[in-house]
Amino acid sequence: MNNAPRTWLRAYLARQLFLRVTRRMKPSLAGLRLRRPGDFFRRVGADGLIGFGESYTAGDWEADDLVGVLTAFAAEVDRLVPPGLQRLRRLALPRVPASDLGTRKGARRNVPRHYDLSNDLFAAFLDRSMTYSAAQFPDPRTATWADLATAQHRKIDRLLTQARVGPGTRLLEIGSGWGELAIRAARRGAEVVSITLSKEQAELARERAQRAGASGKAEFRLCDYREVEGDYDAIVSVEMIEAVGAPYWREYFAVLNRRLAPGGRIALQTITMPHERMLATLGTHTWVQKHIFPGGMLPSLSAIEGLLGPLRIVDRLSLREHYARTLLLWRERYAQQREAISGLGFDETFHRMWTLYLAYSEAGFRAGYLDVWQLTMERGRR
């Protein structure tokens, strides 16, 4: 009961802040309805943006156009909190729990928390290529579900071409997913070693490779990126660095450099944040980290440039609009498959959480708060 006044005060402040923000953003917030304002402000007051997300999952608020509302918030994100309070955010916001840090042990625990949820869940809302990263469409503004699998292959093929993967290439893939990239690389005649920390992924990837007749050329290992050995002509890693954690970024790039044979090339696909935002959020705990990607942290491009060591970026391509479209297609698919997913044992709270996660990410890309890049690297000539 000691906490009661403080809880009340925080809810009060949250209400004031919310009103201040919504006054400014009124037109873009049309359709946001508070169903249980009391609970909403208590949660937001107690846990900030984590509370904002949790209150959606709990059903405290609804929005006709969830992405629209979140895009408006994301576009305002820097101004949401008054500048004076921004400086206090490190003190005021919860820190990342130590158990979520990306040590080898932590990573072995974190990665399965997302990727071992259930292969059937991912199969339900991903296209048949089982690719869980930004696709590359001919035109992201008009693409439909029917275009998604081809667009995923286009993305994979560009990465393989950038990394100069061809017959006989020794390719290392860090982060297997469900094996589609490794399978396509094997079809080009490459010899692929693909690593993941998710048992579920590795098993399904092996099965899929076998079905594709690629199992002799693509080997899937349950292995931490820090434990790989050998030299590779090409390294590919698609949206994996997000799970590495900021304290380990330097080591991640050191591993890339160590494993790359002379003259080799690296192709990464990575989600980024603007540098200032990254610095502001470093070390604080967010709703996405708590509920979706434990231990995850998005780098900025400048952060990556500062960590490259002898590597240098020779090509960088943004797929920002493509990711917004990919996420939209996944969210629509999820909504269609909702009953089937319930049949797998996922409840209403999970549906709302997953929907918010996909909508929140899409909004981030639409607002420019998130970006996603294909980066091609070589060892510098200097």
Partner: protein, 367 residues
């Protein structure tokens, strides 16, 4: 490195540098390093035997580039070495006035690009593209320049009926290509009179308009697409934010721009030789800084691609054409400027080969 003096004496082994008179050393004493070497070479008091590119590669690597003070002391006692500052070669640019005023920029551009259209025709391929090509194995220079122009058109998403602005249109290679191959209407601007007349003539009959105009004075935007190929180097450090703002202003919302531009990672600027002989007031900087300045103007950078290794091949192709027609070149631009160009191409090839410079295509969108 071996050095042969004007009295016939020779010191050291390896590729040969010939000093034809004490004036060569006087140039080096007055402006040590790249500039003195260039002045001595351009005026003919210093020469390299054998392949110039190889010789320069050796010079950079050799100790002679950073001479021992005792050697310098010994040399200044040689009669004729000490003396008043030698006159700078006529081929050096002499500009006056504040940096990047319209008047001074016009003078800087005229210095290099108004040299002689016939001379540029000797060196460049028939497209008259004077920028880094894009080679695939086995490509001729012609083929690689076409490939480069096609890449630019693709990245701009050009479709028939669009209006393209080319800022720094050179001799019209992109304007003509885009108009004839992609069916777009093109406005090209340049500050060089000779480029303007050449480009205007070859574009006759196409929906292409070539204007003699400063990019700051283009007032009929917005365009559906904007290209600027190796022109941003000329606007300078202080001019770049205004240049980026112009690209933004001249592009319609949702439109795409493509900037192809050279970069230098260390020692931003142009380098003493380039600044005196080729492109006065030129400024190159690391790619990330350029990207930051374009973003600060409100443009979104969607793609950057390094083409440095393609520049090595491009320059080599220009060298081959030049070497085959040296006599014609001398007749057109004189012996001293011919030596400027020999040095420029050889030095340029090396900076790209050694990664001291790079060139990028930067694809942008106005949100």
């Amino acid at each position: 490195m071996a050095i042969q003096f004007w009295d016939g004496s020779r010191h050291g082994d390896g590729p040969l540098v010939e000093l034809r008179g004490p004036i060569a050393l006087r140039h080096l004493l007055w402006s040590p390093g790249e500039l003195g070497l260039a002045r001595a070479y351009v005026t003919g008091s210093l020469d390299f035997h054998g392949d110039l590119t190889d010789a320069l590669r050796q010079v950079r690597a050799s100790a002679a580039f950073h001479p021992d003070p005792r050697a310098v002391f010994a040399l200044i006692r040689v009669p004729g070495v000490l003396g008043p500052r030698p006159a700078a070669p006529a081929a050096e640019a002499r500009l006056s006035g504040r940096l990047h005023t319209r008047r001074r920029d016009r003078a800087a551009i005229a210095h290099h690009y108004d040299l002689s259209n016939a001379f540029y025709q000797l060196i460049l391929d028939e497209s008259m593209a004077y920028s880094c090509a894009f080679f695939e194995s086995g490509d001729s220079l012609e083929r690689a320049q076409r490939r480069k122009l096609d890449r630019i058109c693709d990245r701009l998403g050009l479709r028939p009926g669009m209006r393209l602005l080319d800022v720094g249109c050179g001799w019209g290679s992109l304007a003509v290509h885009a108009a004839s191959e992609r069916g777009v209407a093109v406005v090209g601007v340049t500050l060089s009179r000779r480029q303007r007349s050449f480009a205007g003539e070859r574009a006759a009959g196409l929906p292409v308009e070539i204007r003699l105009r400063d990019y700051r004075d283009i007032d009929d935007g917005p365009y559906d697409a904007v290209a600027s190929i190796e022109m941003g180097e000329h606007v300078g450090q202080s001019g770049y934010p205004g240049y980026a703002a112009s690209l933004h202003r001249l592009l319609r919302p949702g439109g795409r721009a493509l900037v192809q531009q050279m970069s230098r990672d260390r020692r931003p600027g142009g380098g003493p030789f380039i600044e005196r002989y080729i492109a006065p007031d030129m400024h190159m900087r690391p790619l990330e800084q350029t990207v930051g300045m374009l973003e600060a103007a409100g443009l979104v950078v969607e793609h950057t691609e390094s083409l440095g290794h393609h520049y090595v091949r491009t320059v080599r192709a220009w060298q081959e054409r030049f070497d085959a027609r040296l006599d014609e070149a001398r007749a057109l631009i004189g012996a001293e400027r011919t030596r400027v160009w020999l040095l420029y191409l050889a030095g340029g090839l090396l900076t790209f080969e050694q990664g001291r410079m790079d060139v990028h295509q930067i694809a942008l969108r106005r949100p």
